[in-house]
Subunit: 546 residues, 2 copies
C-alpha cells in the first residue's frame, strides 16, 4: 500500500533493533505516561517514546522521531523491548477526557460498563484479538469456498412471515396491515438458488430471532450459510471438514479430519444428550449411571446437594448416589440397592474404590455429567485438555417428535425441509409416528452445537405430503417453494455454521466477546439506548399505533 | 475437492476432445430435446448427450456414459462442440412440470413474470453470469482490503432511530412503544470502531432505506463500507483506486489510475450536475449553452419537443434552441438573440455549421445534455464508447445548503459528520451560511454516483458546534458518539461503494439484475408476496395494532 495512505511510517508493534537510527512517524494512543516516557499503542502493539510534553492517557498523538537502542538495563522481552523512539516533534490529534475505566486488560470491568462504553472496551488487547481472529477465520472460509466454486449470493432480509415463524421480528410497511419479516435464516432462498441452478451457494448471512430475553442469545447473529446441489450427506460433511481444516488458525493447532461421527441414538445413550462434550468420558453407560472418578473422595455434601437441586428443579427427579468404598463395596446414600444391582454396578460402570456413582434417568445424567466435570475441575482434577478442540458429527436425528402439548400431533425436530434416510422413507407414508430418521447432521464442538444442516426434499410431492399430512400445516404460504421444487429441482443439501464456533475458537466465555456491538440479554444496546421510543407521528406512515 | 462431494465427475461445460474415451458422470438440466439428442446444462455450460429415453425439458438428470467425438459434420464452435456423450445410464432426479416460460436467453419475459418466477429467471446465462461476476468482484475486494490490513467487522442492523432518520424502517420490540430501527448505513458504528482503535475497518454491509416506491431503488441494498484512521482525503482516494484496479474483472479491461478529479464547482459549471458522465463532451460551457454536434441536421421537431417538455415539467423553464446554418449564421427557434449574443455564441461554444445549440439554466442543461446524447445515439451517432468506464472523483462539495422550505435553516448536503476543508474551517464559526466546503468525495462512474465518503470530525467540540449551532439539532441522541469523540478519537475517514457499481460493470440496465431476489419498485417480493398481512394476534407481543 502506498505510504501516502497513512499518516504513519511504521506501526507501534513492528519496531525492532533493525530500525535503530531510522526516522519514523508513529500514530497512536498514549497507553502509559511517566516523566518523559510515554508508551504509545496502536492495534499492532506498543512502543516506548521519549516525549518532552504534557499529555493525558488515551490521547491520540503523532510522533516523529528517531529509533534508538534502549539504555543498557532498560531492555525487556516485549516485541519492541530493545528500542525506544526519541521524539523530535509531537502532534496531539485529540486530547482524551477522564475515562470511566482504564484501558488495561487486567482492569476488571462490569459487563454493563463494558457495553455502555463499548468503543473503549474494544481497545483491550483481547477484544482486538478476537475481532481480528474472527475476520481472518471468515476470510479463510471464503477463500476455501470460492476455491471449490461456491458463489457468494446475498439474499433478502425483508421477507414474509414463514409458518411457525413466531420468533420473527416484523417490519411494518407503508401498506396498511402488511409487514415484512426478518428471517431466522436464508433457508427458503438458498433452496430456491439450487432450483435456479446456482449449484453451490454460500453467504455470511445476517439472521434474526426474537426470543425475548435469553442469556447468550442475540436478536441478530451471523451464520456461514452453505447449500449445494448434486450432493449427499457425506459430501456436505467432507466439505465442512475441509473448510474448517483450511481456515482454522495455525496458532490453535491443526484439526484432524474426518471428525468423529455418532448417531443421535448413540449420543443419547452414551452421553444423555444430542450434543455431547467428547473431550472426556464419564459416559452415561448401559445401567443409566455415571461414574465420577475419585468423586467419593472429592465431592462434598454441598456438591452433592447442588447435583440434587439440578435433578429436582430441572427434571423433577430424585438422584441415587452411590459411593464405592476403599474395600470395593458400595454404599447408597439414599435408596436401597438390590443385591443384583450391587453385583452388576461395578462391573458395568468400571467404578474403582473412591469413585462416585450417580444413577438417574438418562437425560438428567447428561446434564449431571457436565456438572460433575466442572466440580472435578474446580478441585484441580484435569478432566479435559482446555486447549483441545473435539469436533463431532451427530447424525440420524428423528425427523419428527410428538408436540409437547398435543402428543397426537407431530412437530419437525429441525424444520420441515429435511429429507428422511432412504431406508426410512417408506415410513413417511405408513407409520410417520414411528421414529423416522432424517438426513440431518449437527456439528458439535466441545459440547456446543456449532452448526447443523440436512439434505432437503427435492420432490414437491414428498415435501407436500410432509407439510399437509404429517405436520398438518397449510402449505399455501410455501406455494412458491413447492412450485419451485416442481420446476426441475436438483437433489441438494446444506449447512449453517454459527457465531458460537468463533467464541469457542478464541476461548471466549460468550458470543458477546466475538461481536463488536452485541445486545444485552434483554436485547438492548446500552451504548445508544436501542430500542428507543418513537413518536406516534413517526409511526403514522406505517399505519400502526402502540 | 474430493470427488465424493458431488454426484458428478465433470461439469457440462468442461468436456473437450481430450476427454474422448473417458467414462463420465454429468448432472444437469435438460435444455433441449430432439429425437435421441439431449442438450444437458449446468452452471458451467452445455454438453450434447445421446439418451434413449423420454423426458421433459428442464428435468434434472444424472447421465453416465462415455465421451466420443461427434460424427463428422456435426461439430460446432461451442466450447463442447467437438464431443458428445453416449449415455449408458440415465437417472431422472426430478421431472419438470410445464414452465411459465422457456429457459432461453433470447426468450423475452416481462419484468413481473421474471420476478414471480425468479428461480427460473436466474437460470438464464446472463443472470448466472451477473451473480458470479458480483461474487468474484466482492471476493477480490475483500482480498485487497485484507492484504492492506483492513478488519472485516460486522455491525448491528437493529439500531435506534437517528436524527433525521425519516427513511428508516422501524422494528417493534417486545417493550411497549420501543422500536429498533434498520439503519441506512453503519456510519456511527464505523466511526466508533475507529475510536475503538480498530484502525482499518471494512464490511460488505446490508443497509435499509424506506423511500416508498422509487424506480431502481431497493428497500435493502449492500455497500462496501470502509473506514480508516490516520488518513486524509488523498489516502482514501488512492485506497479506492488501488482497490478497484485490483478487483476489476480482467475481461472488462484494465482501469487507469489515478482517476480524474474535479471540484463540485467545476462539475456544476461544466456539466450542470455533480455526477457528470465524462465519457463525452458537450459541456455546458461558459455561456450556459450546450452544443449538439450535427444536431441541427439530426434532431426532429419531436426530439426538440421532448427536450422542451423536460425543461417545462422538471424545471419549469423555457429553452432557447439555436440552429447553426450551413453558412455559419445562427437561427433562434424561439427567442430573439441580441447581436452580441450572436457574435459570441459560436466562438464560445465552438459550434460548427449543422450543430444545434441549446441555451438554458445550468442545472437544466446538465439534464438536457444526457438527453441529447441519448437522442444522438438513437440516430446511430457514437457519442461515447459503450465499453468504456470513466471513473471520476468529485470533491469539495459544500457542507450545507439552505433548507428548501426554510431558506434561513441550513441542512447537511451529505451528513453532519463530514469535516470542512482546513482552509474553510474558520467559516464554520464566522459565516456558516457562506459555502463552507467539506472534505467529501463522490466517486462517479459513467455519470452514476457509485460511492461517496468523507473525512469526519474527530473533535467532539467541532462536531457539537455543527450539530447545535449550525444544524440546530438536538445533540442528545448522538451523545454516545460525542462522548466517543472525546475519548481519544483518531483522525479518520471512509467511503461506501454501492450496488450500482456492479450493475454498471456487468452492463445491466438495473441494479435488480445484479441482486438475486430484488424487490419491485413498490417494495414487493412478487414470488413470496412480501410484505404480507399479519394477524392482530401475532402483533400483540409487540404492543402494536394496525
Amino acid at each position: 500500500m502506498p505510504s501516502s495512505m497513512s499518516f504513519r511510517s511504521h506501526t507501534c508493534g513492528e519496531l525492532k533493533s533493525d530500525h535503530v537510527g531510522q526516522h519514523v512517524t508513529l500514530c497512536g494512543w498514549v497507553q502509559y505516561l511517566q516523566d518523559l516516557f510515554v508508551i504509545l499503542r496502536d492495534f499492532s502493539g506498543m512502543t516506548q517514546v521519549l516525549i518532552p510534553q504534557d499529555i493525558t492517557v488515551e490521547s491520540v498523538v503523532q510522533v516523529k522521531g528517531r529509533v534508538r537502542k534502549r539504555p543498557a538495563g532498560q531492555e525487556n522481552k516485549m516485541p519492541t523491548g530493545e528500542i525506544e523512539v526519541l521524539a523530535e516533534s509531537v502532534d496531539v490529534f485529540n486530547v482524551c477526557r477522564k475515562l470511566p475505566f482504564e484501558i488495561k486488560d487486567f482492569v476488571k470491568k462490569s459487563e454493563s460498563l463494558r457495553m455502555l462504553y463499548r468503543y473503549l472496551d474494544l481497545r483491550s488487547g483481547q477484544m482486538q484479538k478476537n475481532l481480528r481472529m474472527r475476520s481472518e477465520l471468515v476470510m479463510k472460509m471464503r477463500e476455501y469456498l470460492c476455491k471449490v466454486h461456491f458463489v457468494d449470493v446475498e439474499t433478502p432480509t425483508l421477507f414474509k412471515r414463514t409458518p411457525g415463524g413466531a420468533k420473527e421480528f416484523v417490519v411494518p410497511s407503508r401498506e396498511p396491515g402488511r409487514f415484512y419479516s426478518l428471517p431466522q435464516s436464508p433457508q427458503q432462498f438458498k433452496q430456491l438458488l439450487m432450483v435456479a441452478g446456482v449449484d453451490r451457494y454460500f453467504q455470511i448471512a445476517r439472521c434474526y430471532r426474537d426470543e425475548g430475553s435469553k442469556p447468550d442469545r442475540q436478536p441478530e447473529f451471523t451464520q456461514v450459510d452453505i447449500e449445494m446441489s448434486f450432493v449427499d450427506k457425506g459430501g456436505i460433511m467432507s466439505l465442512v471438514e475441509g473448510l474448517l481444516q483450511y481456515s482454522w488458525p495455525a496458532e490453535k493447532g491443526p484439526i484432524q479430519v474426518p471428525f468423529q461421527t455418532m448417531t443421535y441414538e448413540e449420543a443419547m445413550r452414551d452421553y444423555g444428550m444430542d450434543k455431547p462434550d467428547t473431550r472426556f468420558g464419564m459416559k452415561t453407560g448401559s445401567v443409566q449411571a455415571i461414574c465420577v472418578p475419585n468423586g467419593a473422595n472429592l465431592f462434598t455434601g454441598k456438591d452433592l446437594n447442588k447435583l440434587k437441586e439440578t435433578a429436582k428443579t430441572q427434571f423433577d427427579q430424585e438422584l441415587n448416589v452411590v459411593l464405592v468404598r476403599a474395600d470395593g463395596t458400595v454404599k447408597s446414600l439414599n435408596k436401597h440397592l438390590s443385591q443384583s444391582t450391587r453385583d452388576e454396578l461395578l462391573p458395568k460402570t468400571g467404578a474403582q474404590p473412591g469413585d462416585l456413582l450417580i444413577m438417574a434417568a438418562r437425560l438428567l445424567l447428561g446434564n449431571l455429567r457436565l456438572q460433575c466435570a466442572e466440580i472435578l475441575e474446580s478441585y484441580g482434577v484435569t478432566v479435559y485438555d482446555p486447549l483441545a478442540f473435539h469436533f463431532l458429527w451427530v447424525v440420524d436425528f428423528p425427523l419428527f417428535l410428538p408436540n409437547a402439548e398435543e402428543p397426537g400431533k407431530l412437530d419437525s425436530v429441525h424444520h420441515p425441509f429435511t429429507a428422511p434416510l432412504p431406508e426410512d422413507k417408506q415410513l413417511l407414508y405408513t407409520e410417520p409416528q414411528k421414529q423416522v430418521r432424517g438426513q440431518h447432521y449437527d456439528l458439535v464442538l466441545n459440547g456446543c452445537e456449532i452448526g447443523g444442516g440436512s439434505i432437503r426434499f427435492h420432490k414437491a410431492s414428498e415435501q407436500l405430503h410432509v407439510l399437509t399430512n404429517i405436520l398438518k400445516e397449510d402449505p399455501s404460504c410455501l406455494s412458491h417453494l413447492l412450485d419451485a421444487l416442481d420446476s426441475g429441482a436438483p437433489p441438494h443439501g446444506g449447512i449453517a455454521l454459527l457465531d458460537r464456533l468463533v467464541s469457542i475458537m478464541v476461548g471466549a466465555p460468550s458470543i458477546r466477546d466475538v461481536i463488536a456491538f452485541p445486545k444485552s440479554f434483554r436485547g438492548h444496546d446500552l451504548m445508544s439506548c436501542a430500542p428507543d421510543l418513537v413518536s406516534e407521528e413517526e409511526l403514522k406512515c406505517y399505519h400502526i399505533s402502540v
